[in-house]
């Protein structure tokens, strides 16, 4: 199975109880991966309030995932 590098920020890091993770998964898209993680960690935020980055670039939720991809789900930002 493909191995995905995950990094969690802000409340996602608290809810997952970790900042990084290497996860083996058979899901095909970023959207499906987030669904899998919501089931695993109980993430509160719905995907329509978030964005997704693959290999440090914003991508659509339909983005396919490959072995070794680095994926970050982006909660609403609050910098500035």
């Amino acid at each position: 199975m493909p191995r995905i590098e995950l990094e969690y920020f802000a409340q996602l890091g608290e809810q997952a109880g970790r900042r990084t993770e290497t996860r083996e998964t058979s899901v095909a898209t970023a959207a499906a991966l987030y669904d899998e993680l919501r089931a695993a960690y109980g993430f509160v935020l719905p995907p329509e309030q978030m964005r997704v980055a693959v290999n440090a670039a914003f991508r659509p939720w339909t983005q396919g995932l490959r072995d070794g991809d680095h994926v970050v789900f982006i909660p609403p930002v609050s910098g500035g």
């Binding site: 802000a10 409340q11 930002v77 609050s78 910098g79």
Partner: protein, 141 residues
């Protein structure tokens, strides 16, 4: 050279300003965001900023490039801090030099507004008394 800096320690603001001194610029506008002592009525002791640094830097750079394309400006730089900042520290700094003041003001305002909605930085407010929480106050499009 990336003109949008994600910094985990205090930055020499005077050096950022120096880099924008161009003889063709007549107006210079800056915006600084400071850690405030209260937010929505709660006493804040400090704020922890967390950034997804590679994307924050590239998205910030994209915003500066957009400002250069949209407004008649000469040069612009910006900086966002990460880590724990006590009340009064500079969390964000933006500088814009332009031939005329209208473009300098408008571009500076554009950049801070876009940073607040698009750049992957999150703040965790620490309150006087000990508790802390992640803030989710800006809308993401």
């Amino acid at each position: 050279m990336n003109r949008f800096l994600i910094a985990d320690a205090p930055v020499d603001i005077a050096a950022l300003r120096e880099a924008l001194l161009k003889p063709e610029a007549g107006g210079f506008c800056t915006f600084e965001g400071w850690v405030r002592q209260t937010n929505e009525g709660r006493a804040v002791s400090g704020i922890q900023y967390q950034a997804f640094a590679p994307l924050a830097s590239s998205e910030g750079q994209t915003i500066l490039d957009e400002a250069l394309a949209r407004f008649e400006i000469t040069a612009t730089r910006a900086m966002h801090r990460t880590g724990y900042l006590p009340v009064g520290d500079i969390a964000v700094w933006i500088g814009v030099a332009a031939p005329h003041r209208d473009a300098a003001f408008r571009a500076c305002r554009y950049i801070i507004d876009e940073i607040k909605t698009r750049v992957p930085v999150w703040k965790r407010e620490h309150y006087v008394g000990g508790c802390a929480e992640w803030v989710a106050c800006h809308h993401v499009g």
